[in-house]
């Protein structure tokens, strides 16, 4: 993907830049709001990562508002040290698509960037079914089959699986699952998400020869179709 990174702190910038490049992305960078806005308007990106507080009079929200004012709908991920709920709401209301608070784990940022990039591609056509490898989900009848065999899932388990399938091949973090599947925005101290994923595995992976839901150490989970 072609990504624009606007971040003024050189350490954070080079850290994110290096990580994104290693993940195979093509990254342009800017260290102030003016250059960032110039690039964001002039070039075509799959996703823009914006720091909220930038030097030079133009901050992240200004850039975001200008882009949205020009009907530019490039997905924007806001990066900020402001973590209060209201700040997050401000950012999303201004047209941001996701919000990551500093300090962050790179795996979290990468997972969210890839999820956003994916969303930009296939949001056009409403689907009625999803298929990954031998797993298929019927979104209307809420029926799940794997290799022709029907799997019974609770409503929440279905939503969890649907989210994983929609992001098949990408890492999804525990926080992402909590936010997107449960719509919760707090940090649980216990391993609630792990437990739910492990229950889902009991139904989706255990009866079959190969597992499709994998744990990624220090990051989260990935649903990877069986290679056959």
């Amino acid at each position: 993907m072609r990504i624009l990174l606007v971040e003024d702190d050189p350490t954070v910038r080079s850290f994110v830049l290096k990580g994104l490049k290693e993940a195979g992305h093509n990254v342009d960078q800017a260290d102030n709001g003016k250059d960032g806005l110039y690039l964001a308007i002039g070039e075509k990106y799959d996703i823009i990562i914006l720091d909220r507080m930038l030097p030079g009079g133009i901050d992240g929200l200004n850039i975001l508002e200008t882009l949205r004012g020009q009907k530019n709908n490039t997905p924007v991920l806001l990066l900020s040290a402001l973590s209060e709920v209201d700040d997050r709401v401000d950012g999303l209301r201004a047209g941001g698509d996701d919000y990551v608070t500093k300090p962050f784990a790179f795996s979290e940022l990468l997972a969210r960037v890839e999820a956003l990039g994916r969303r930009g591609h296939n949001e056009s056509a409403p689907e009625t079914s999803l298929t990954v490898g031998d797993l298929s989900l019927d979104l209307l009848s809420r029926e799940v089959r794997r290799g022709g065999q029907k799997i019974d899932l609770q409503p929440r388990e279905f939503r969890l699986l649907e989210f994983l399938v929609r992001h098949a091949g990408q890492v999804v973090t525990r926080t992402m699952l909590l936010e997107k599947v449960w719509d919760y925005h707090f940090d649980p101290q216990t391993n609630v998400i792990d437990v739910h994923v492990s229950r889902l595995r009991q139904k989706v992976d255990k009866p079959f020869e190969t597992a499709i839901i994998h744990t990624v150490r220090n990051a989260g989970y990935i649903l990877r179709p069986t290679q056959d």
């Binding site: 209060e84 709920v85 300090p103 919760y184 707090f186 216990t190 609630v192 437990v195």
Partner: protein
């Protein structure tokens, strides 16, 4: 040029001139006390003048009517004399009356058909009197002075004519007295107004002064200073300011507590991370060891970040700024979802999560904050429960105290109660009292992961909803109860809800 300006304009420095002119363009006095007293004086003067004018008007009216009635009665009397004895009898009667008139205010004139004076004390027929049976008010000359007088002329048979009059200099006297009274009143009122102005200004100054002194004391750092209540109207302001100062003081106390806690409780994980990194730097022999050390340090840093987040969130909630997100919300759905989320973890930990939920009415509150509070309670309960024990999530509406004659079920609930009960080690009484403090961890909990901020956050969220957090011993275990009042307009409920309650 500055010299051309009227003096009142020069009172204002250039940057304030516009504002000053806009507010009182033609009024140079800015002291509220003096303006108040002046206004009061002018008002008093106007009312005194009105009052005295009314007295003047009604008493002259009365006098006039009196004089006219007297004249008419007198004339009738005299005309009767004419009927009995003609001109001589009338002349005698007039002379008699003049002799008996001690006040010397009666005026008479009797003339024959040639206009000659037959009797009376008027020197001649006044030129102004032309019509009969009509009252005239004339100024006449008597002895050495002039005086106003009321006259009426009558035709008698055979061309004789009679004038009956009355000296009304009494009215002039009254007018003089009243005019003098008005002038003296004005002088006295002016004096009283000026004196009052000074007194009122002083009063105002003293009232405001006490508030100003307190404010400046607070501004210079003495937060314990309070405005003395005097029982006057400024008490309203004083009380509000005092309440505000109390709140500021509490917030400052909170900030102080937090900074102490940060100093103490954040240093520990930071030190640990630092030591690990240092140790690895000097003594790690393989990349594996180095990687493990860095990994652990990152874990410690994440823990520190978590503490920061929690502290900031608590501070933000306690500052009361989060009320903007309040909506009418359905707690039943929230409880069902939370139960569903945590039921799995409870089962994983070998615990049995019992639900005992009576349907709740909608509540005016912050959904995310209540989610977070409930999550903290369930996290805690799961963390401290021994395997194979039970965990109960209860929720029920709390009825208001029923008025006599009504059963409690008839009136709408006063609030609702949500509780989480475990069968863990519980807490002793001393720990329960301290449980809501930031970073407090009971001795028995030292070895479990956690920051000691979970209950502080629950406490803050409860206070935000004007509710009450209660910890009770469940023997075995601990029961944590949130009471949330159901007031529609939460602003009206008391803001000073007790922050914590011990075992009840």
């Amino acid at each position: 040029m500055a010299e051309d300006r009227p003096p009142s304009r020069r009172r204002f420095p250039p940057w304030r001139r516009k504002q000053g002119e806009g507010r009182r363009r033609h009024w140079p006095i800015r002291s509220a006390g003096i303006n108040f007293a002046l206004g009061y004086g002018v008002l008093f003067l106007i009312s005194a003048t009105l009052f005295l004018s009314f007295i003047w008007w009604s008493s002259t009216n009365l006098l006039n009517r009196h004089v006219r009635a007297f004249i008419e009665t007198d004339a009738q009397e005299l005309q009767k004399r004419w009927t009995y004895g003609g001109a001589p009898a009338l002349g005698d009667a007039i002379t008699d009356r003049l002799e008996q008139n001690i006040d010397d205010d009666a005026l008479y004139l009797l003339t024959d058909r040639h206009g000659r004076r037959l009797a009376g004390n008027l020197p001649g027929w006044p030129v102004a009197i032309k019509r009969m049976d009509h009252f005239y008010e004339l100024t006449i000359r008597r002895y050495t002075f002039t005086t106003p007088a009321e006259f009426k002329a009558y035709d008698l048979p055979h061309g004789f004519r009679l004038i009956v009059g009355h000296d009304i200099r009494g009215r002039t006297l009254l007018s003089t007295v009243i005019t003098r009274t008005v002038i003296w009143c004005a002088v006295m009122i002016a004096l009283l107004a000026v004196g009052g102005a000074l007194v009122v200004r002083d009063l105002f100054r003293r009232m405001v002064g006490s508030i100003a002194r307190t404010a400046s004391a607070v501004a210079s750092g003495d937060l314990n200073h309070r405005i003395a209540l005097t029982g006057s109207e400024t008490d309203l302001v004083a009380e509000t300011v005092n309440t505000m100062l109390d709140r500021i003081n509490r917030l400052m106390e909170g900030v102080r507590q937090v900074s102490n806690a940060i100093a103490h409780d954040l240093r520990t994980p930071i030190t640990r991370a630092r030591n690990q990194l240092e140790e690895a730097l000097f003594s790690a022999t393989s990349p594996e060891e180095l990687r493990t050390a860095v990994d652990r340090a990152i874990g410690d840093l994440d823990h520190i970040t978590g503490i920061f987040e929690a502290l900031l969130r608590i501070a933000q909630i306690e500052a009361g700024s989060r009320r903007s997100a309040f909506t009418m919300m359905d707690l039943n759905q929230l409880l069902a979802n939370m139960a569903e989320l945590y039921e799995a973890s409870a089962e994983e930990a070998g615990l049995n999560l019992h639900l005992d939920i009576v349907p709740l009415p909608p509540l005016f509150g912050d959904e995310r904050m209540l989610q977070q509070a409930l999550a903290n309670l369930l996290d805690n309960a799961i963390k401290f429960s021994p395997p194979d024990s039970a965990l109960t999530l209860r929720a029920r509406p709390v009825p208001a105290i029923a008025p006599p004659g009504h059963s409690p079920s008839e009136c709408s609930p006063a609030g609702l109660e949500i509780s989480v009960q475990d069968q863990g080690p519980g807490m002793n009484d001393a720990d329960i009292l301290r449980a809501h403090e930031r970073f407090f961890r009971a001795e028995s909990a030292r070895n479990t992961p956690g920051s000691g901020l979970g209950l502080s956050l629950v406490q803050a969220v409860t206070s935000l909803h004007h509710g009450r957090l209660t910890l009770t011993k469940a023997n075995p275990g601990l029961k944590v109860t949130l009471f949330l009042p159901l007031t529609q307009d939460a602003e009206q409920t008391t803001r000073k809800a007790p922050l914590t309650e011990g075992p009840s």
